[in-house]
């Protein structure tokens, strides 16, 4: 039996089930964060269309799943995100300026321009970069959870995946190991129905993704991913189970990728406008806003003020980031190894000389 779909609010924000305990300040911060994610997506996609950044992947429509799952973690927990979880880093303390620098790949980028946009990793908030191969971060999440337990740390690891990654061998290996060793790990699947152009029905004949957990010997949960309260409730339980030593959980958040796979993708080539419209009325911001407003936690003035603040912050971040130069050539050669081998140092000297148009003293083939 596939787990029942958990839901706290209906698409218009009316309570339909038990609600998680949440402080008013947290509720306001969660909503502001979702608003910020939506705005950042719009601004960054527009920068991409203007050729000012090379690539972008939005999380539009998935803000509740991202923000709610991030909220359920402690700052000391480790996160292994996939493409659409930049909002998790932001929730944990990465700044918009750092994100914009990464998207541009300039000298202010924590990653020194080494990775494509949206392949972020930020040690100060314990996030590790995913790989475009898909699913590869899940064995790392499993290994890190294993190490945390081995060292006696009170740490839970969260491995994010999409519906596409649930087909990968790395998901299977990570889930299988996590089950065998009962690791403090949560698999959080944002099932947004599409892996680029391939629909869920082509990823699995299974009735759900959550039910796959049964084969690995741990629980699975299905939750309405556009209902942040349900996401928080389900993720909190999964994290608590992991923290208690009761092993992993697979949380499947049903949501929808409102945009293309990335800025390079045109979803009108492969999916129906009717399907998109069907999800539009389930918008996670609309739902949360309606409930918060009805409860008196947030009013229209709040959102207008936040929008203004966020706009200013994004604008300032873009201006600052665009003023920074690209990383110097020698940064390409650092960090391949802890100590640079001599052969690599030679290649670096050559690259610098070529870059500067100066004569290179050394063996010719360099």
């Amino acid at each position: 039996m596939t787990p029942p779909l958990r839901r706290c609010l209906d698409p218009d924000g009316r309570p339909v089930g038990p609600l998680p305990e949440l402080a008013r300040d947290d509720l306001r911060a969660l909503f502001r964060h979702m608003v910020m994610m939506r705005m950042l997506d719009q601004r960054m996609l527009s920068l991409q269309r203007q050729g000012r950044i090379g690539f972008y992947g939005t999380a539009t429509g998935q803000e509740a799943a991202v923000t709610g799952s991030a909220f359920a973690l402690r700052p000391t927990d480790w996160v292994f995100p996939a493409l659409r979880e930049m909002g998790v880093s932001l929730w944990r303390g990465t700044t918009i300026r750092e994100i914009v620098c990464q998207l541009i790949g300039n000298s202010g980028d924590v990653l020194l321009g080494r990775q494509m946009p949206c392949h972020f990793s930020d040690r100060k908030v314990l996030t590790v970069a995913w790989s475009s191969v898909i699913g590869t971060q899940l064995p790392h999440a499993m290994g890190a959870a294993w190490a945390a337990r081995h060292l006696g740390h009170d740490v839970v690891c969260m491995g994010y995946l999409g519906d596409g990654a649930s087909s990968s061998g790395d998901f299977h290996a990570a889930a299988n190991f996590a089950g065998v060793f009962r690791l403090p790990l949560v698999f959080f699947c944002q099932n947004n129905q599409w892996a680029i152009s391939v629909p869920l029905a082509r990823q699995t004949a299974s009735v759900s993704i959550a039910i796959k957990s049964v084969a690995y010997g741990f629980p699975g949960e299905r939750v309405d991913g556009n209902d942040i309260l349900a996401v928080i409730a389900a993720t909190r339980e999964a994290v608590a189970r992991a923290r208690k030593g009761d092993g992993p959980t697979l949380v499947e958040a049903l949501t929808f990728r409102m945009g293309g796979h990335s800025s390079s993708d045109d979803p009108t080539r492969y999916r129906d406008a009717a399907q998109v419209a069907e999800w539009e009325w389930q918008d996670p911001l609309h739902r949360f806003r309606a409930w918060l407003t009805a409860c008196g936690h947030v009013d229209a003035g709040d959102e207008a003020r936040w929008t203004e603040e966020i706009n200013a912050e994004i604008g300032a971040a873009i201006a600052e980031a665009e003023a920074l130069p690209p990383p110097a050539i020698e940064t390409m050669f650092a960090d391949v190894y802890r100590e640079m081998p001599r052969s690599l140092a030679e290649q670096m000297r050559y690259a610098i000389a070529v870059g500067e148009g100066t004569k290179f003293e050394g063996a010719f083939p360099l």
Partner: protein, 325 residues
């Protein structure tokens, strides 16, 4: 000093590492009670417990991927791949994740994983227990690739690999696991990575070899001595990063070079050595750079001794180099 086989020397290194560094964890298939299919880890689980010597499910991507997560978190995992022929399910984790983590995180995360795997032919293991895939890993930025040829080097190089903070592919010539014994120093010592060793000195011709091909090269060199040719054998020990100084110094002195490896010929490690020599020692050469290698075929079962380079084939190449005019 106790006389040890390579298996015993590697086990000694693992025992020292487990004893001295609580962050060291061994993981792999059948390494616990069974002690590994070659008995390299025999007794270690009994001594250090199931938390530190771990039998895993059968999935190489899980073993290596899990080790990567452990390493970035702060452990020092040693992953055993039962035969290097089984490493390909972990290939992506090795080349795109383990090798790149330090770089792609701009130094925020290190990945000190040692992947140990027996490699090479000569045990009637057929296609799936005999391959030599070292070139794939040498082609991957971020990896250190080590292949010992003697028990003492195996111990010292493995301890050096563990002392570092970067991922290492440590390939063990299974044919030499028990073929000889030598005195191995007790306690912890390291043999530096990135340094070759002259296994046999000579004046007229250099044979470049590593792993199981080193004794083959020495045997051929002895035979060449009877013909009046003094042949030097350089044991590379670390393929990436290569000790270019040692290679070039020997070749510049002898002017003739034969490269030996059991991996297939095309784009094998010998091609890199030949290119290096052509680029940096051309004027010292008195004969073409020659390669004695496995063939560009899959590794055969019945005909493995026809496939594998041996002393007579190596001697033919030495003769060709010595008589080239």
């Amino acid at each position: 000093m106790p006389a040890m086989t390579m298996v015993q020397a590697i086990q000694d290194a693992l025992r020292i590492a487990l004893r001295e560094d609580p962050r060291v964890v061994l993981l792999g298939e059948d390494i616990g009670k069974a002690g590994g299919v070659f008995r390299v880890t025999e007794g270690l689980q009994a001594e250090f417990g199931e938390q530190r010597v771990v039998d895993t499910p059968l999935a190489e991507n899980g073993i290596v991927g899990g080790a990567i997560g452990m390493a970035m978190y702060g452990l020092k995992p040693i992953a055993e791949i039962q035969f290097v022929d089984f490493i390909y399910p972990a290939f992506d984790q090795i080349v795109s994740e383990m090798a790149k983590l330090r770089w792609r995180s701009a130094g925020q995360y290190a990945c000190p994983v040692v992947v140990r795997a027996p490699y090479g032919g000569g045990i009637k293991g057929g296609l799936y227990h005999s391959q030599s895939p070292e070139a794939y890993f040498c082609h991957t930025a971020g990896l250190t690739v080590v292949i010992p040829a003697t028990p003492s080097d195996a111990k010292g190089l493995l301890l050096a690999a563990l002392a570092g903070d970067d991922p290492v592919i440590f390939l063990e010539p299974k044919r030499l696991y028990r073929s000889t014994r030598e005195d191995v120093a007790e306690g912890a010592f390291t043999v530096p990575l990135g340094r070759a060793r002259v296994a046999r000195s000579g004046e007229h011709c250099t044979v470049l070899a590593y792993g199981a091909m080193v004794p083959v090269a020495v045997e051929a060199a002895e035979a060449a001595g009877a013909r009046g040719w003094s042949v030097e054998v350089v044991d590379l020990r670390t393929l990436a990063p290569l000790d270019t100084d040692a290679v070039l110094a020997s070749v510049r002195r002898t002017g003739r070079v034969v490269i030996l490896h059991e991996a297939p010929r095309t784009c094998g490690y010998g091609a890199e050595l030949a290119a290096l020599i052509a680029e940096q020692a051309l004027t010292s050469l008195q004969a073409p750079v020659l390669r004695v290698t496995g063939y560009d075929t899959p590794f055969p079962y019945t005909l493995e001794h026809s496939y594998l380079p041996d002393a007579p084939r190596t001697l033919r190449a030495i003769e060709h180099a010595m008589t080239f005019a």
